[in-house]
Amino acid sequence: MKFRAVREGLLLVALACLPAVGEGVYFRDKISWQSPIPASELVTVDQARSWGDGAIWVDARPDEEFAREHVPGAVSLNEDHWNELLPQFLPNWSPGKKVVVYCSAESCNAARDVAKRLRDEAQLTDVFVLQGGWEEWLKKKK
């Protein structure tokens, strides 16, 4: 049983490599291979600030953190209350405006997820993730 299971398992492990490689080739341009967020979708604090009124700031952190403090003029839009908050956010957007999404820090994923949903579900273009998130914004504010 033991050796047969190992032999069969190894065969399955090897077999699964074939379509995985094929899929990797197929998705090679859609996958960000080096970092979770492609460089073209990231924006620095200085760059985002330079856009002035041409950008809408979106806070993807939980409600309590947004209530405590946020980037001036930012709109709260997190995944916990996506269905309620999205309709409140959309009137702020107009074609040509850039959207800058941020969460707590470099390591958080909320901004990336919200940015993806804005692109996929709300069909918005020019959606960027703030590099370093709220932490970086605080540093630059000083």
């Binding site: 299971a5 190992v6 069969e8 398992g9 970092s35």
Partner: protein
Amino acid sequence: MFGVRCSAFSAAMKIVWRIVDLILGGIFVYAGVIKALDPVQFANDIDNYKMLSWFVTVRLALYLPWLEIFCGLALVFRFLYRGGLSILTALLAVFIGATVAAKLRGLDLTCGCFGHASKNWNFSTHLVLDLLILLAALVLFSRVWRTEKS
């Protein structure tokens, strides 16, 4: 008389085990297909666990769904059955461990195991479902083990 009853019972149990095979295999084929269709989303879901580098994560996101599909098919068609069952049991154990560890570290995450269908499941729902699947896999495993011995 007793012999007839006994063989009827064992035939019925064979059907039950076959149904368990099909359900378990079907679950993994479905879960694998959903993830293979959107590897970017699955990579993000793995990344939420904060356990692996992005380099490893993105490659796992391309590979794991296919491993699940192949192992699921192995259970459905009873071809390379033992290997498929062993891998699925190991995958489940690793996944449950990773989910519990993430919860203990205070991470609030979606597993993405079944695409959008599982997006809003809470931790308890995930855990109960995973443990049930693991239990089914272990029962099948012990059955194969006993059949081999006898």
